[in-house]
């Protein structure tokens, strides 16, 4: 099976083609469409699992299996940057190793679960748009699997652009609504900025290494790290620009909250669990380049840490349940980059892994809530839903606890691992940036407090207290169908269990049972830090982070639970009106971008349209047409059709000719 890796992305591609080109045209019944889509993603999952098992049993988990399909771009002989003549080619190669195995596992698994959920969530769509939805979703699976399995930067880039396209298509799924369509455009355009950096990184790497194959680049760097140290910084930074766009980090995070315009399962799959983590995956995949460049690492860490706190603080004052989760996703992605920036690539990927379970569960739970209240997303019009949606409630709470970082759930284990690694990088003075890492650790802790607060604020506002949506809506409240609750339960179980795969060293009293890190070590080794903190210090850190999470939960309970709910936050908002307005309006970042970039660019476009195109180009064309017409109008009078006029003209011409000859 491991030699048939190409089958894994092929299955969902076939599903997308069948549903998109045939099912959509013919308007197949829901049953047929979902059978095709579930077969596509289900077979991808089975093939993926089979490939992982085959690879692990034959090569061992430290092995790298490359599956070369064909030569994609034979560029011919050329000179590399250091003047060597090399035969430059790019192969279409898929690769299975520990890192792609992790991604393959949860992408196919979560992807399949969300396909199942979508069957219930989208059932009220018409036949054609139902087929369109599943075609896009399958196409996304194809692109994401290509991204995950790509053995070089170019194949990865195909998947990278493919998921961007599917993201655009699915955000704008309800394209009849203008704001949905423009949210899709925003996501696509903002991502383009990042992709530009990524492309430059690929070109630069090709120039420097003469190959963009991960294995090839790694071998070159391991042979002579000093030679490539200077080129590593720009390449790594440009790669990170790509990651900033795709993984919604400062300053390009603005598209992700708007991406919530898409259907909720899409938000769960693409904008929480899989696609947005592609940036983290790419950084971990090219860890050998980042490890060479202390500057790039600290930039990654700072951007990640700042994003984690910044997005979490916006999440404090959002009233749209999906927006809260969206900012939470941005914030958690920040944690993943913070880990990568501290050299703990494995810890970052581990958080990707656990996050995919609890954040997908939260989004699907939110989808179930939205489904129940008839499309309402404003939490101020919810409340008291726990009685009506018991399964959704319990799974949502479990996932929230995991995200807030309550032991022993998955989020606690992975987030604590990240904070521990960042603290260790600070104490151990990693690359001489020790104090920076210590500050980032503090920011991470503040972010953890805010995370616990805003998530429990969401739980209280949605599920506790009295229903605030009116009598009519209250009458319609109902638990979602089996196809929607079953995925919730599965993902909630994952949020509980996934953490046990990667229990950190301190948590297990130096037992060294961190299976996840051992698994990833051959591909994405963590940077060694000197003077690792002693066990007692680490336990103090763990207790601090748990205490912070509990404090956030208690504060949320005090603010939003019980008979006095909403009184204190209202009082606070009235006392600091400017501060509240700033946070609730997302620090006016969208408005600032609008003023600084969007409007000038729109003005330029308007000028090109009205000024250059309409006036200059069309004007020239119309003017020449006008003069030709005038000339024709005037000459028309000569062509009277009257024979005697012609005779007179002939006579005049003859006389003129004679005069010219004689005079």
């Amino acid at each position: 099976m491991k030699d048939l890796l190409w089958l894994i992305p092929l299955f969902p591609l076939l599903g997308a083609i069948v549903n998109g080109l045939v099912g959509n045209r013919r308007g197949w019944e829901h049953r047929t469409t979902s059978a095709v889509a579930l077969t596509g993603s289900g077979l991808a999952m089975l093939a993926g699992f089979a490939a992982i098992i085959d690879w692990a049993t034959t090569l061992g988990t430290h092995g790298v299996h490359a599956n070369r399909l064909f030569t994609w771009i034979p560029a011919g002989p050329g000179l590399t940057a250091d003047g060597l003549l090399a035969n430059l080619t790019i192969d279409f190669t898929l690769r299975l190793d520990a890192l792609s195995a992790v991604m393959l596992f949860f992408v196919t698994f979560v992807g399949f679960v969300i396909h199942v959920y979508s069957v219930g969530y989208m059932h009220s769509e018409g036949a054609r748009s139902y087929a369109r939805y599943f075609a896009y979703l399958n196409l996304f699976m194809f692109a994401m699997l290509t991204l995950v399995l790509g053995a070089n930067l170019a194949v990865l880039f195909i998947g990278w652009e493919g998921v961007g396209l599917c993201s655009y298509l699915l955000i704008g799924f309800y394209f009849e609504k203008e704001w949905c369509a423009s949210a899709g455009k925003k996501a696509f355009i903002v991502n383009r900025i990042g992709d530009f950096g990524f492309l430059l990184a690929i070109f630069w790497a090709f120039k420097v290494f003469g190959t963009i194959d991960f294995a090839g680049m790694q071998a070159l760097i391991e042979a002579d790290p000093g030679k490539y140290a200077s080129a590593a910084t720009p390449i790594a930074l440009l790669l990170f620009v790509g990651a900033i766009g795709k993984s919604a980090q400062l300053p390009l995070y603005v598209w992700l909250p708007d991406a919530m315009a898409g259907p909720t399962p899409v938000s769960a799959l693409i904008h929480a669990a899989t696609m947005v983590t592609a940036g983290v995956y790419m950084v971990a995949r090219s860890n050998f380049i980042f490890a060479l460049s202390p500057t790039a690492l600290v930039v990654v860490a700072v951007v990640g840490g700042l994003t984690a706190v910044f997005a979490a603080s916006i999440g404090l004052a959002q009233n749209d349940i999906k927006k809260v989760l969206a900012y939470s996703t941005v914030s958690q992605l920040g944690y993943m980059f913070l880990a990568a920036g501290a050299g703990a690539f494995g810890a970052g990927i581990f958080h990707v892994f656990t996050h995919s379970f609890f954040k997908a569960c939260l989004f699907l739970g939110a989808g179930s809530v939205i489904h129940a209240v008839g499309g309402e997303q404003d939490m101020r019009k919810m409340g008291g839903l726990a009685r009506h949606l018991p399964t959704t409630y319990w799974t949502f709470v479990v996932a929230t606890l995991a995200l807030a970082g309550i032991p022993p759930l998955a989020g606690f284990v992975s987030k604590d691992e990240i904070l521990g690694k960042v603290f260790a990088a600070g104490v151990g003075d990693l690359n001489g940036f020790g104090s920076v890492y210590l500050v980032l650790w503090g920011l991470g802790l503040a972010g953890a407090f805010m995370t616990a607060f805003y998530m429990f604020r969401a739980v209280h506002m949605t599920f506790h207290g009295q229903f605030r949506g009116g009598h009519e809506a209250e009458h319609h409240l109902h638990e979602s169908p089996r196809s929607m609750t079953a995925p919730l339960v599965i993902l909630a179980a994952g949020s509980v269990l996934a953490g046990f795969l990667g229990i950190g060293k301190a948590l297990s009293f130096n037992l060294d049972i961190n299976a996840f890190e051992h698994f990833l070590h051959p591909i994405a080794p963590a940077l060694e830090v000197e003077h690792a903190p002693v066990l007692a210090t680490e336990w103090v850190l763990i207790l601090i982070s748990v205490a912070v999470a509990v404090a956030g939960i208690l504060l949320a309970r005090r603010f939003y639970f019980g008979p006095e709910a909403f009184r204190r936050p209202k009082a606070l908002a009235e006392r600091f009106p400017t501060l509240y307005a700033t946070v609730a309006n997302k620090y006016y970042v969208d408005e600032a971008y609008d003023r600084a970039l969007v409007r000038p660019l729109a003005g330029l476009a308007r000028f090109s349209w009205k000024g250059i195109d309409t006036v200059a180009i069309d004007g020239t064309l119309n003017a020449s047409a006008f003069f030709t017409e005038i000339a024709g109008d005037l000459l028309r009078f000569l062509q009277t059709g009257n024979v005697r006029n012609y005779g007179l003209l002939v006579l005049a011409g003859a006389l003129a000719a004679a005069a010219w000859l004689l005079l």
């Binding site: 009277t640 059709g641 009257n642 024979v643 005697r644 005779g647 007179l648 006579l651």
Partner: protein, 100 residues
């Protein structure tokens, strides 16, 4: 004594009459007759110079011109017959449109 000049004067008068008639008259048949006048004015020129120069070339040309004039008259009258059948008129001002 009738000199070449006299012939040329006659030719000039006939030519002018022909041209003026061709331009001012509306009747197709008259116009055709004016064309005959113009051609024959040219013929008189040919003959006059042939006699003065003692060469036959001019007379040969005159025969050719008469032939052409005959052909022209045949075609012109044919057109007139067709025109009368189509429009019941020989007035040139009423046939300025190219259609039908």
């Amino acid at each position: 004594m009738i000199t070449t000049t006299h012939y040329l004067m006659l030719s000039l008068v006939l030519f002018t009459l022909g041209v003026i008639g061709m331009v001012v008259r509306r009747n197709f048949i008259t116009v055709l007759m004016c064309v005959e006048l113009i051609l024959n004015a040219a013929n008189i020129n040919f003959i006059a110079f042939s006699r003065q120069l003692g060469e036959l070339t001019g007379q040969v040309f005159a025969v050719f011109v008469i032939t052409i004039a005959a052909a022209e008259a045949a075609i012109g009258l044919g057109i007139i017959v067709a025109l009368v059948r189509l429009k019941q008129t020989v007035n040139l001002d009423q046939v300025s449109v190219m259609e039908g």
